[in-house]
Symmetry: C2
Subunit: 81 residues, 2 copies
C-alpha cells in the first residue's frame, strides 16, 4: 500500500476569488503581512500496489482526466514519504 | 517573500463523500487498484517577511481560526522549499 498526493491549483493567470476573500479577511481578523492566498485542492490517492513508475503514470492520467480541469488548473503528483 | 503551505484534510474518522465519489468513479473510467481517495484543501499563503518561527506561529493560528474547521479537519503547516 502506498499513498500518492495530487495537488491541484488554479493556474497563476486565473483569478482565485476564494483565495482573495481569505487574504482580504485576514487583516480584519488581526493578521498582517500576508499579501496573497491561493486556495486549491489536495487529493490523497491510496494504491493497492507500490508507487512505481507505472502507478504514477496512471495517477497522472487520473489527475488529467478526473481530478483537475487542465484548462484552468495545474496539478502535481508526488509520493507521500 | 516566503510561501507557506497549509494542507487541510478531514479527520480520518470523518466520512468523505467527495473522496468516495471519486474512488467509485475510477473503475468506470478504466482505473483500477485505487481502494480509496480523500479530498482536502491546499492553501498557498504568501508572506511579506521570512518564514521564521514567529511567522509560522501566525500561520498556524490562521489555520486554526480561519482555514480549517478543527472539529472535523486536521491541518499541517510547512514552508515551501
Amino acid at each position: 500500500m502506498a499513498r500518492v498526493i495530487v495537488d491541484v491549483m488554479l493556474k497563476p493567470e486565473i483569478l482565485d476569488p476564494q483565495g482573495q476573500a481569505i487574504a482580504r479577511a485576514l487583516p480584519r481578523l488581526g493578521f498582517s503581512g500576508v499579501p496573497a492566498v491561493r486556495q486549491g485542492k489536495r487529493f490523497e490517492v491510496e494504491l493497492d500496489g507500490p508507487a512505481d513508475e507505472a502507478a504514477l503514470k496512471e495517477v497522472r492520467k487520473m489527475a488529467e482526466t478526473l481530478l483537475a480541469n487542465t484548462v484552468i488548473e495545474d496539478y502535481t503528483v508526488r509520493v507521500e514519504e
